[in-house]
């Protein structure tokens, strides 16, 4: 009875503030506490909770469970939704570097003066105020892995950010996540080298060999100590396994080339794109390579002419760790939204839970941030997305987004 009375008070308060179109005044609330109640709460790591409650305190999840068992603190702001999920994770994007205007001045995802530039840091280009960041956030995306795009042998570094914050430092929580590389047609150019697939791989290998020698000399110290070189220093971090090499490759033979490089240098590797990954399931599984699959709605053509709608499902079925991405778009739409891409995965083979994993916990695992985000578990960041129905249905709206306990969007989108 006590619990029921508490709930009644809570919901009375919510309805009252909903009617007036305002949240309860700050004075009436426990400022550090937010309660989210969902008719269904998907945690991404267990069975859905019917009539579930998530208590957020000081930016973290303090409690999650059925309403009947979770103690709700008095005076907290309460948000209500039909469905609650973890905040979504876009496992590979260029949002914040590739702006919505699509003019040279807001396109910072690819620098073409040289084919190998691992020293280009994403933190030196990320614009947290870019309108597309707020756009993807309004559909429930709370974490993005963004940075340099495919299109050069090595285009630069990536970072992980929350889709909030007004400065890079406020937004970013992994300043240097991976080094972005491309194998296949996407790495070649018309005028300058590399002009062929094999030349591109040769360039990549040569740079890795140099970096290995650089690291050896650096570690030896003394006479052999080389001058500091930002490019080789970055690649040395990859060779040491401190950062994965994120390799964009689509055709099966390009994926095979990526695996060959991995074998030769003993790298940690994440496959990106993977339009024909369904032809390489055994090889990828044997190598333990996770895959950040191209957007499910990517266009079939060129290197991706044989892409498959079922690829995310086939990867999961084969026991591979897989996630979805918004990718890079050169025209319209300027960015994709992983909520919509996961919905298409759910249409083509994935169960609801498996499709959700692609944009939550499995994305977090691939990015190495699963201790902090990706699921609704006590102690993790209080990042949540609220919906008025099945999140994947075309006609459902995202009705609220919470990042670290702060309500960042309440627009029905």
């Amino acid at each position: 009875m006590k619990g029921l009375a508490r709930l009644a008070a809570v919901f009375g308060g919510f309805l009252a503030c909903a009617a007036s179109g305002r949240f309860p005044s700050a004075a009436a609330q426990d400022a550090g506490v937010l309660v989210v109640r969902g008719r269904t709460v998907h945690t991404a790591v267990g069975a859905p909770i019917e009539d579930g409650i998530v208590v957020c305190r000081d930016g973290k999840i303090a409690a999650v469970g059925p309403a009947a068992t979770v103690e709700v603190p008095g005076g907290a702001m309460v948000l209500e939704a039909a469905v609650v999920t973890p905040g979504l994770i876009d496992a590979h994007s260029v949002v914040g570097l590739s702006g919505r205007l699509n003019q040279p001045h807001d396109q910072d995802q690819l620098e073409r003066s040289a084919p190998v530039q691992p020293e280009l840091r994403a933190v030196d280009a990320y614009d947290p105020r870019e309108a597309l960041v707020a756009w993807v956030r309004s559909f429930g995306v709370t974490t993005i892995h963004t940075g340099h795009a495919p299109g050069a042998v090595i285009s630069g570094q990536t970072l992980v950010a929350k889709t909030t914050g007004e400065t890079v430092d406020e937004a970013v929580f992994v300043p240097f996540a991976m080094v972005a590389a491309t194998i296949g047609e996407g790495a070649t150019q018309d005028e300058e080298p590399p002009g062929t697939r094999a030349k591109a791989v040769a360039l990549l290998r040569q740079e890795l060999v140099r970096a290995k020698e650089y690291a050896t000399g650096r570690d030896a110290g003394g006479e052999k100590q080389p001058d500091r070189d930002l490019r080789l220093e970055t690649l040395a971090a990859v060779l040491a396994g401190e950062r994965p090499l994120l390799v964009t490759a689509h055709r099966a033979h390009d994926i095979a080339a990526a695996l060959r490089v991995r074998e030769e240098f003993g790298l940690r590797m994440v496959l990106d794109g993977g339009a024909e990954a369904y032809l390489m399931l055994d090889e990828l599984r044997a190598a333990g390579i996770p895959v950040i699959v191209h957007p499910t709605m990517a266009r079939a053509g060129g290197e991706t002419k044989n892409l498959g709608m079922e690829t995310p499902h086939l990867l999961q079925e084969a026991g591979l760790l897989a996630a979805l991405q918004s990718g890079y778009e050169s025209y319209v739409p300027k960015t994709r939204v992983v909520l919509f891409e996961a919905a298409i995965a759910a249409r083509y083979g994935c169960t609801f839970a498996d499709a959700l994993r692609l944009v939550t916990i499995d994305a977090a695992r691939i990015l190495g941030i699963d201790a902090r985000v990706g699921s609704l578990e006590v102690g993790k960041d209080a990042d949540l997305a609220l919906y008025d129905g099945d999140p994947f249905e075309y006609t459902t709206h995202c009705t609220g987004v919470v990042i670290e306990g702060e309500v960042v969007s309440r627009e029905a989108r």
């Binding site: 003019q103 079939a300 709608m309 319209v332 249905e393 075309y394």
Partner: protein, 435 residues
């Protein structure tokens, strides 16, 4: 493949599932499906009778008398709607006008379509049965468009739609805003764009008047000019202008020119259409709307919004949606009306926007766009609600012939993609069109 050849192949290759109900064949009755006629209320457990490639009867179970020789297909639990009509597409990899001039009305896109391109097969897999294939938007006028029926075919001729006089159905593609602004001889500003278009239409008026004054006298008839000839069709209302336009002021410029020269126009994309819905409604200009996942990509599309369809609907504007394939994938065309409903459009208008209203904009509504007796038997058979993400297109029929079947290996490959899905379709070697 011609209908006769298909029939021959079918007879030669036994057993094969029956997949045509064309002229000469027995009537085919689809029984038990939920019918979405568009022209009237949904019928929960309906009967749809197809004979000679046309819809012969439609009604609730028990209301439609089945002919004794009818072949009955039980489609209980499925949904049948009219084949989808896309008012703006680039399937078949067409290239229209070249870089030599900003206005090229003599160019026909039908001379540049690869009917074996996988994009056409994907469109069939999306439930599309009729498509307006357009040249691009990098010109003020990039050529004549062509309306295609997505029959199973090896040549473009088999896809064309002709009227009683044998005239090939199609419009003309124009564009304003930023895409057509380039170095000379292309325009460098919006005002220059409009001036070039006006000068060209004045030339067409002059040509038309000379033809009229000549009254057939070979001495007085001006030399035949293919470009001006096409523009005279536009001036006389026999060829509709399909006009790419995004920004609110560019939309109004199209309406201004349409009024000045009296040409009929369908406004395409209309990213800012929601800002000038009243003006569009007052001009009675139909709109072919694009739905994409985010704004931007260029300045004029910064305010593109899912709500455009609904805002225009409420203003009383005729609304269709388009894939702009390859911009969006034809296999996911039903996402567009569904996302419009998400942003406030009515379900009825959204479904009409990919069927009957789209057919009206192509002036083909007497033949297609709804499940009505006498119309072409162009059908999409679905396994669920048309506006649900979980719904798959199971079969697509054009004029009583099944052109896509998800249950076949080939159909599955077209629908889902995978190894070999991007390869062009090979010529038929055997087996009644099973490719």
């Amino acid at each position: 493949m011609s209908p006769l050849a298909l029939l021959g192949a079918l007879l030669a290759c036994v057993p094969l599932p029956r997949d045509d109900a064309q002229e000469g064949g027995a009537p085919l009755a689809f029984v038990g499906a939920r019918l979405v006629p568009i022209a009237g209320p949904d019928i929960e457990r309906g009967v749809l009778l197809v004979r000679g490639g046309k819809i012969a009867a439609i009604g609730a179970a028990g209301e439609v008398e089945l002919p004794a020789d009818a072949e009955v297909r039980d489609v209980t639990g499925k949904t049948i709607m009219p084949g989808l009509v896309c008012t703006h597409s680039h399937i078949g990899q067409p290239a229209g006008a070249d870089r030599s001039a900003p206005i090229q009305p003599e160019v026909r896109v039908l001379d540049a379509i690869d009917v074996r391109d996988a994009s056409i097969q994907r469109a069939q897999a999306g439930g599309l049965t009729c498509v307006n294939v357009m040249p691009g938007s990098g010109h003020l006028l990039s050529g004549q468009t062509v309306y295609l029926k997505l029959r199973d075919a090896d040549t473009i001729e088999e896809l064309l739609i002709r009227d009683a006089a044998g005239r090939i159905a199609g419009g003309i593609k124009m564009a304003n805003g930023t895409n057509s602004r380039r170095d000379p001889p292309f325009p460098g500003t919006r005002a220059k764009s409009a001036a070039l278009v006006r000068a060209q239409f004045v030339a067409a008026q002059t040509y038309r008047d000379k033809l009229a004054r000549a009254a057939g006298d070979p001495e007085k008839v001006p030399p035949r000019d293919l470009g001006l000839e096409a523009l005279v069709e536009v001036l006389e209302g026999r060829r509709v202008v399909h006009h790419h336009t995004h920004r609110h002021d560019d939309i109004l410029t199209v309406l201004r020119l349409s009024e000045e020269f009296g040409f009929r126009v369908v406004l395409h994309h209309v990213s800012d259409g929601w800002k000038v819905a009243g003006e569009i409604a007052a001009a009675r200009a139909p709109c072919s709307v694009i739905v994409i996942d985010s704004p931007g990509g260029k300045e004029e599309a910064l305010d593109v919004d899912f709500k455009t369809g609904g805002v225009l609907e409420r203003a009383g504007v005729s609304v269709s949606f388009h894939t702009d394939d390859y911009i969006t994938d034809s296999r996911l065309f039903l996402r567009s009306p569904a996302l419009a409903v998400r942003a406030g459009m009515s379900r009825a208008a959204a479904l009409a926007a990919v069927t009957l209203e789209a057919a009206r904009q192509l002036e083909l509504d007497a033949r297609i766009g709804s499940l009505e007796v006498g119309k072409d038997a162009d059908l999409a058979i679905l396994d669920g609600d048309p506006l649900s993400v979980y719904t798959l297109v199971l079969e697509t029929w054009v004029e009583g012939v099944r052109v896509f079947d998800f249950a076949s290996p080939e159909g599955r490959l077209r629908a889902l993609g995978g190894d070999g899905a991007g390869d062009p379709v090979l010529a038929d070697l055997c087996c009644g069109g099973e490719r």
